[in-house]
Symmetry: C2
Subunit: 460 residues, 2 copies
């Protein structure tokens, strides 16, 4: 069995487990109490805060522990927006932030605030100049992840931080994916992260707010954690989180090099081993352990099941694997293929031969899914050519619309068009992506009864 979904959650680091066990015995009492069990708990909490602050590179009194990374983001965004309400109600986020940031932005909008979503390029990174030009006199807060959770692309936090600093706008960095690898460089004002991403236990997030940043915590008052995280402190888990952060940092440089080589293997070899694959995300500026690719004519959920049967746990941004049946907002923002999407995120310690085994089983798994779905053979058909064809894929889920398109494109002459009727949201992303991969022209989308018509011109 190989678990390749560290970007969702990492198994508990041995150091975290040990620290958790010790702290369950020593740190269960209320740290606000004056008796010895309380004082002992307080000491553990203070030490964990110092260790975490050192790893984050902030002062201990700038850092609080929350109950999750999501909670850290929600609290950070709401607190910074409320603290700067007099300056304005404009919030900037990138289009590829974690859902916790985007949901916080939706809440702000529903509450009458303004939100600018900065687009990303095809690699998933924002352009610092474009981000900077979104800054306005009424901007209360800007948010940017340190690296993307789905495709691994690192964001230009340093350059964006400079632009924000120049404009006097605080920058909140969601460092959930990168904090285990190293501190966030550059000029951030708020930082959020999640312990279970670096091998700490679930139930611990952290939120750092630099001194001098205006911050007004929302919700009912609570004395704990400087009023920024209500509820009894989860000290055993906090202690384990801090201990494991320190432990993974000690191994980070060596392990990053090793995982980077393994993911580079996947990046290079998957397109050779599997036809019709698009590897997405920045090839260089990326997280060490994450690599993402999409396979034409493949249904993501079925591929995940096949890989699970073969002993590999990976995740997917395909629409069929989400409860909303829409493709991942990250892939959509990048404008890349979403069907047959696979994210491999290697936990530290992954042995090279597991990656080799993955590369060995992947081609057959993909071929099996394609066969079941009746994907087109490599050579186009040779039926008599007609100038325009219509494919009716209404009511059919991706990748079927793309498969049907691929089957008939050879039936029109060069210069002829295929109109694909589809009502699956993913088609809007995947038909243009198919055209780009296949060297065909995507003419555009037209309204059609019961869905949309996507028009493709054959040019090769």
């Amino acid at each position: 069995m190989a678990y390749f979904d560290a970007a969702s959650a990492a198994p508990l680091h041995p150091v975290a487990r040990q620290a958790l066990l010790a702290a369950l015995d020593e740190g269960w009492a209320d740290p606000a109490r004056l008796y010895r069990e309380g004082r002992r708990a307080r000491l553990l909490l203070d030490a964990a805060r110092e260790a975490a602050a050192e790893a984050v590179r902030c002062r201990p009194d700038e850092l609080v522990f929350t109950s999750s990374g999501t909670r850290a983001v929600h609290t950070g965004v709401a607190g910074a927006l409320a603290g700067r309400r007099r300056i304005g109600r404009h919030l900037i986020v990138s289009a590829v932030e974690h859902s916790s940031v985007l949901h916080a932005a939706r809440t702000h909008e529903a509450d009458g605030g303004a939100v600018t979503e900065v687009p990303v390029g095809r690699t998933g990174a924002v352009d610092p100049a474009a981000y900077g030009s979104a800054l306005r006199p009424d901007t209360a807060l800007a948010c940017l992840q340190s690296a993307n959770h789905e495709v691994g692309t690192e964001q230009p936090v340093g350059a964006v931080g400079e632009a924000c600093r120049a404009a006097g706008v605080p920058l909140l960095v969601d460092a959930a994916q990168s904090l285990g690898w190293g501190p966030v460089e550059g000029d951030w004002s708020l930082l959020a992260a999640s312990a279970h991403k670096w091998g700490g236990p679930p139930g611990v997030g952290l939120l750092a707010v630099r001194k001098g940043v205006r911050f007004a915590p929302g919700g009912p008052a609570d004395e704990r954690e400087s009023g920024r995280a209500a509820g009894f402190e989860n000290i055993p888990a906090i202690v384990a989180a801090a201990a494991s952060l320190r432990a993974v940092r000690a191994e980070a440089a060596a392990e990053a090099g090793r995982l980077r080589e393994l993911t580079a293997r996947i990046r290079t070899r998957v397109p050779r081993l599997v036809p019709d694959v698009e590897v997405v995300g920045d090839p260089d500026r990326r997280l060490p352990g994450v690599v993402t690719f999409s396979c034409l004519y493949v249904d993501g959920e079925t591929l995940l099941h096949e890989l699970d049967r073969a002993g590999f746990s990976v995740s997917s941004g395909s629409s069929c694997t989400s409860s909303t049946l829409t493709p991942s907002h990250v892939l959509r923002a990048m404008g890349v293929l979403s069907e047959g999407n696979v994210r491999v995120s290697l936990p530290p310690g992954t042995p090279g031969d597991e990656v080799e085994r993955f590369l060995a089983v992947l081609p057959e798994a993909v071929a099996g899914v394609r066969e079941k779905l009746g994907a087109p053979a490599a050579a186009p058909g040779t039926a008599p050519a007609r100038d325009e064809l219509v494919v009716d894929a209404l009511g059919r889920r991706c990748p079927i619309p793309v498969i049907e398109l691929a089957k008939v494109i050879g039936d029109v002459p060069v210069g002829g068009t295929v109109r694909v009727l589809a009502d699956d949201e993913a088609a809007r992303l995947d038909i243009p992506a198919w055209c780009e991969m296949r060297g065909q022209e995507y003419v555009g989308e037209e309204a059609a009864d019961g869905g949309a018509a996507y028009v493709v011109r054959r040019i090769s």
Copy 2:
């Protein structure tokens, strides 16, 4: 060492520890994922929810896990108020709720809502008729704890639940102190609790919302826990919480009887062993393990330190032990003495001889503190009597104003008065309480330069 503060936090139950360890290995993955680690985590989460729901006596799909009891209360209050906003914006709470409920009520008020605080009697219980008469056509939610966390008094949840049901108003019960002992009887609509109160790990609260109760979760959207508890589920802790709830319930009947006998010993014997003590809370309708008393002429913080040195960890509602330097709102609402306050809350398993040892060291600890503070001797002074005396205790913290009052009351003739000038908030509660205990007449409070004048007439 004896830890007598189970009402703050209980040490981890052995069953919880075992379950936590097992679930750290099996339940660390994302339960929303389709691969085996995710499915395994989902199974554990589902099983924990079923076990907890059975203990609460609700349906599994009515129960979600939150990150703390405080969070369960905040979410429950806000969600019920938002869900019934069209009906009205009136909220009812008792005056002795946990601070999480009262803080949620303050937030609702700050947001333009109306709040009625139902008073309690001298035992700390609300009168069901008085509670019922607070119900209005625009009441959106009523809150009542199952039992008080500071004095152990059980609330008439059954009778209040009937009144609420008749008025069509949902009742939220904060069951934090009692859920380990048994399900909440009666007709509640929402229920909140906290695992670390019953020997579960920190980091787990639970919120039950009966089907049919209008509920609109606030804050940014999140798919987890039916949209009622944002952030990655803390499955190992949830599993441990459910397992320990089941375990303490299995032992509850026997253990309740045993602890009830031990706390009855304290209730009976402390007033015999220590002069000038008031035992507070209902003598019969009370939690098994909680007993609270206040000692005249004693500074709570110093007494806690003395008891800690003698090996006993207890808590206190005295003003000097709170960060705000005001007495506990519970003692204030009950109108009982707050100085020298001690809450003993025995964890399950407390041996009888620890209680005996406590009873052995308490008198000396109290006497030591009184001596240091120069508390009055039993016999009043015999100085020539004057009709009116003024004691200037401005700038001095409780119990000094009460001590000074007690020292001079014998210096005025029967019928004469003593005016105590004080600026410590606790005097407002403790001087009338002293009069009641001492059989003197509390005349009232007058404004005075730099504080207040509390007027006492000697009548015995």
